[in-house]
Amino acid sequence: MQRLGLMLALLAALPLGAQRTVYDLPVREHLFPNGLRLLVLERANDPRVAAKIFTRMGAVNEIPGEAGAAHFLEHLMFKGTRTLGTTDWASEQPIRERIGALEQSLIAERNRARNDLRQRGVFHEYSHKQSTPLADSLRAEIARLEQSAQRYREHGATMRWYQRYGGTYLTATTEQEYMKFDINLPVEHIEVFFRVEADRMQNTIIREFDEERMILVEQRLGDLNRPATPYAEAMNSTVGRVQQVFWPEGYRTDFDQYTRAHQQQLYERAFVPNNTTIVLIGGVTLEAMIPLVERHFGAMARKPEPPREVAIEPLPDAERRLIWRSTELAPRVEARFLIPGVGHPDRPHFDVLGEVTQIMLARALNAAGVAARPSVNTNVVHTSRFGLPASQNFEVVVDRQEQLDGAERVLLDVIERVRSGAVSAEDLTLAKKRLRVAWLRVLRQPDVLAFDIGHFQAMDVWRTLPVFMAARERTAPDDIARIARQHFIAENRTIGVVRRPDVPPRMNDGGGR
């Protein structure tokens, strides 16, 4: 609250004028007795509604060994409920119960078998022993039961009705601090959103668990097909030591550890009305939506508030340097620094700092004759804003490896100039214009704007969003220098370098001749 107050004070200091109005967000809010929050941005003439439901849960709720479990839960929440996705729940239910019981036996057998494997190597095979006669037979029985349950399955049922009623942009996302389900519907059909999502929130049934686990494998392989992925993961784990923000969405070894029981626990703990926010933007009114939401979500009882404590990153205390050798990834050098999360009054200034540094960096590289593409961003895994400390990344991808040293010198020199306050008014104006125009493009797109509103609610509170955007207009050169001096210190710096592997010379090559 104190942080919000500071930011509101910043906003109050804005001059009145045209620029200020683009940051006004006339969001209307209603809090239901069970804690469910409804946010509506009314756009009277819009024929459609961008609708999203956010739950505060994500990678920050995961435990070591089960990274990606929150993302997996999102997949499982597409498998239907006891009212959608089954032709006969009464007949299917005993099969599901039997599968659950067998999984408990499987967990017990895996625990027992853990000590059967005494020689645990460094690089492979130091997890549980995966196969025992009992474990194999339990798995086979679970697979057989899953197959027998298929006779009652109605696949795709949670998606189909959105599509039938004109739903588009149907998707779901799980990141570090939120899970969301989205749809864009004609105004006349918005009730189907409440029907499907209230059901998903209360009645999800875990089905095709092992098949869906293989989809995670597919997505993981897809990620690894991009040469930048393993490098980015190595950088993230060098920048952050304990905070889950820096974890990837699970390794394949994590996928093997998932259990239905743990997924069910995650589901039940997080999907409670007092941990949920609905965001609507379009041709609807708050007054019209309240009774509809009440009809579908009103019966849900408030539940214990899920804990939001997360791991606290230790103070950075040493400069780190990662050398990554790759034949596939273009050579690059980058510097990353931990910066505060959304909600901290300085966080908007980092957006401006990032834009202005990118402008300066491009110019400096050009002047130094380094053919390179700079990028300043705050990306960690798939997200760029967090309610927790994360990193600001200053990246330079060079055309030729021989330019790496020069690029690093330029990069560090530009950061030093930013620290010393050498930011020109012209660059600052252009940086602010870029940020303002990016925000205007968001305003035009209800689906993107609804995401931002919900994301800010998940990270902090939604009211921070307009304040945050407006505060960037007020960033002064002194603010940039101050935050750069505070945060861009050697102890908080991680340097990453990508270069080609060294190739040992042949005996008859070069100097040997």
């Binding site: 029907r195 098949e211 392989l221 097909n225 029981a261 305003l443 035009r444």
Partner: protein, 486 residues
Amino acid sequence: MTRQWSCCLTLGLMLALPFSNGRAQTMVHPRDMRMPSPPSPRPDPAVFRHQVGTSTAYVVEDRQAPMVTVRAFVRTGYGGAPDAAVPRAVERALRAGPSSMAPGAFSREVDAMVGEWRVTMGPEVTELSLDVPSEDARRAIALLVATLRGPRFMNVQAGQAPSTLRGATATGGSGPVLYEGSLQLAVDILNEQLLGASAYGGLATTAVTAAAAQTFHAAHFGPSSIVFAVAGDIAAADARAGLAEAVAGWSGGQAALRRPAVTPTPAPARPAGREIHLYDADKLQGWVVMGHTLPPVPLQDRAALEVMNYIIGGGHFDTRLFRELRDKRGLANTGGGYPEWFDRGPGTYTLRTYGRPDVIPFLVELTLREVDKMRTDLVTQDELDIARGALADGVFAMRYADSYATSRSLAEEHARNGDHTESASYQRRVRAVTREQVRDVARRYVDPERFQIVIVGPRDAIGKAKHWESSKPLSSFGRIVSADIR
């Protein structure tokens, strides 16, 4: 024993919890929900249409944010010449901005506006767009039209043109490596197999002089061959005045107004039947793209063909392919179908999926199986209802969901067809599609025996793969032709 009881208790609680809410709640099945039908999403085009000299413009005001998007649709593309290389050279010139500005000045000005500049050439229509803050709207209109009138022509060396197999291989910082294992490579290879002999394939491998590109431009680019779209925070009168000023004194483009003869659809590359083109790539997954050419589709068949494709693979999360490949079996992240037809030349019908090497032959088998089913069996009434609703109230409605989409859709349709009769009847035509019509268009337009199948991935692993659910090797789906990417 205590632990066992504890496990059972936990399990019992877990199963019981979802049903233990404070109040009972009745869930009406979505099928039975009574909700009003949305009105037709498409506005009357005449409300937004303006005549600017010999050009047509659609202007839709929008005060949501102080931004403006200016677009132009030109009635020509890379299918407009016997060799696609010449129009592609014009595309390249358009991307570089107007020749009246010093080299680099155009991109600097766009950067200063924080504008987004895009040029997209298809076989029959070319689209240019510039999105800027409204304070720069008049300047954006002037820049876009100046580019249309006199783009920065240059000589193009063989293989330099954009969006070709060779071109894409040669570009991008980390592009070559990524491209070798990508869907785009597989799509490009298939297109080359199917349309390589036709300008509609878009391949541009020959050298083009600036003079040749200029000649094509003079014949096809003129105010009467262009339809403009302006949307955003600008008064219609201002937009019209800006366009009028920019196009003043400009003529030409008459060649684009003549409807050229239909380019014949190439004969199947290999009349002997289905072949599998297996390209080796050192990747963890393989891409599968299969399909054949598609002739121009008459209006009376289009709605049924869209419905057919929506059911098999065009409907995102709930399609037959999605259910079979992903939901039931966990084989692939996704799979889909993509019909692309044109008015005056050949298009393609393709199906795409990807997965780990050991499931690739089974992905091919399942995809072909679903295509066969579309041709032999009637779809269910539920499938038909869902596809019709999704296309009429979803996909089509999104084309008019806001001012920007509306102006774009109206202008593009006018550029393609010269009128709006197709969109006027779209919802009626889609809602009238029957189960029999779906099967009929599947039989007439999709022939799996003619498919060329391109697979890009780890060749050896794919070649040896077998799935427990099927013992069919890859070779049972067609003759395997192994090839190197280059």
